[in-house]
């Protein structure tokens, strides 16, 4: 009986795996050492637990250069953060008849709330187009801007093609609109500075390149901007009143939080800081270039998205001629123990721009813990699959 090769995980854009040892250790030691309800009671465990959350909040504020850590609120993922952001602006910044600009590379966690507002609240939407090499054409922004453009939402890094949007240029040209960034794929790989990039709201998720557990995430909200909370309830503060607090972060943190996830996220950010964003990016880009250069030589394979010499994330979409996406992904998993993702990756707009709607693509996404040997194994498998 031949030994089963070690599995290769190449689906880091869905969620990163493995997690750093310290993330695992933090989660398990915290779970085993104290009760996990922060800010509610006055005992030592509750206080220690509040400290864990405080420490992660401060670490994230430093990480994104937020001037004040109280402007960071935790959510259970970036989807929730984006929903709080988009729906929370309604009636405050966004009113019926107002205009929103977004990009053709958005995830459904942005597009579905926006389409809902378009349908129910009379909001109109313009979409920044994508160039031939799969990058958002930020140069089109001035042409799309209107007097009533109140909101611009942009995905920093495409989870379909790895294309990086020039959010700095969007921030420079945002006018009076609120600028919201979906940093799901970029946080932990590409530098983000909310001040120099002029970002009003930054939504992030904890379980991808920030290397934390699932169920963690949050957002930064610029001072002076307020959002209607999506949830109201116990916050541990102002308990004598039946009115939801109106200050950050409490106003958006009703209910007992995911203390474990937040503690683990703190450890993940610690790992990223110690390793260095540049070292992480360099490693992932090396794997990406290695993959792109060789996969380009397999003539049955069609690769989408920016070329290897562009600044891009290690997220690669491709198709194998004559084979369905699910067939390729299934063979990779079953025959080669390589885990990837097939389909639309929750971003139908991106596939419309690439002409890969509605079948989608096979997506390889490499993370910091992947090795060159992993990439070589993926290439060998693809070669065999495409010749069969």
């Amino acid at each position: 009986m031949s030994a089963k090769p070690a599995p290769i995980y190449a689906d880091n854009a869905a969620t990163s795996f493995p997690k750093p040892r310290e993330v695992i250790d933090t989660v398990s030691s915290v779970l085993g050492s104290m009760s996990l309800s922060p800010g509610r009671s006055a005992h030592q465990y509750s206080l220690e637990c509040s400290r864990l959350i405080f420490d992660t909040r401060e670490a994230l504020a430093d990480f994104f250069n937020c001037p004040d850590s109280s402007r960071i609120a935790f959510t259970c993922n970036v989807t929730e953060a984006l929903n709080v952001g988009i729906f929370g602006l309604l009636g405050r910044v966004l009113h019926p008849g107002d205009h929103v600009i977004t990009t053709a590379l958005e995830h459904n966690s942005v597009m579905r709330p926006l389409r809902y507002l378009e349908k129910t609240s009379g909001i109109s939407i313009s979409i920044l187009p994508v160039s031939g090499d799969g990058e958002v054409m930020v140069s089109e922004l001035p042409r799309l801007m209107r007097d009533n453009t109140r909101l611009i939402v942009a995905n920093h890094v495409s989870n379909v093609t790895g294309a990086v949007a020039d959010i700095e240029a969007i921030g420079r040209n945002k006018g009076n609109a609120v600028f919201m960034v979906d940093a799901a794929q970029s946080a932990g790989v590409f530098p983000i500075d909310v001040v120099s990039m002029n970002i009003d709201m930054l939504a992030f998720t904890g379980h991808k390149s920030l290397l934390g557990p699932t169920g963690s995430g949050g957002f930064y909200l610029r001072q002076g901007l307020s959002l209607r909370p999506l949830k109201m309830g116990g916050t541990g503060s102002n308990s004598e009143t039946e009115i939801q607090p109106d200050f950050m972060p409490d106003c958006h943190e009703a209910g007992t939080p995911n203390t474990l996830g937040i503690a683990g996220l703190g450890a993940g950010v610690g790992f990223v800081n110690r390793t260095g964003l540049a070292a992480i990016r360099e490693h992932e880009q090396r794997l990406c270039r290695l993959f792109l250069e060789s996969v380009g030589q397999i003539k049955e394979i069609l690769v989408f998205g920016p070329a290897a010499d562009r600044e891009r994330a290690a997220v690669i979409s491709l198709r194998v001629k004559g084979k369905s996406e699910s067939e390729v992904a299934q063979s990779l998993d079953r025959d080669f123990h390589i885990m990837v993702r097939a389909g639309l990756h929750c971003a139908p707009g991106a596939h419309r721009t690439m002409g890969t709607f509605a079948d989608g693509t096979v997506r390889f996404s490499f993370g910091f813990f992947n090795t060159e040997a992993d990439v070589t194994a993926c290439l060998t498998a693809l070669e065999i699959i495409s010749k069969n």
Partner: protein, 113 residues
């Protein structure tokens, strides 16, 4: 930075003990986040303090407050102001369960905005 259980136990043992030798002041902040932010600044500046439950006599809120020697009042207020921490209330402890509010004028007079 480790958040291991041993670490926590250590922290619990070495936590500040109440400062009862000199008259103390109690500052109320808007939530636990701001209490911990205040704690960070006081620690960094070597000011002895204690994080305590908000005394029932001050408020029915279930939050935490920061207690410190009244001799440090000016410095504490200055530090909190420099950290942009808004104060929800300031009290002088008159007895075990007795607190007297320090008026808003007195607070703002001490805080350089």
């Amino acid at each position: 930075m480790s958040h291991g259980p041993g670490d926590n136990q250590q922290k619990l043992i070495t936590m500040w003990s109440p400062i009862q030798q000199t008259p103390t002041c109690v500052v109320i902040l808007f939530s636990i986040h701001f209490v911990l932010k205040a704690e960070k600044f006081l620690k960094r500046n070597g000011i002895s303090h204690d994080v305590i439950p908000v005394p029932r006599e001050i408020s029915s809120d279930c939050g935490m407050a920061v207690e410190f020697s009244c001799l440090e009042k000016e410095r504490v207020l200055e530090l909190l102001a420099s950290a942009d921490l808004r104060i929800a209330g300031l009290y002088r402890r008159d007895g075990k369960n007795s607190f007297k509010p320090i008026s808003a004028e007195q607070i703002t007079a001490n805080v350089v905005n």
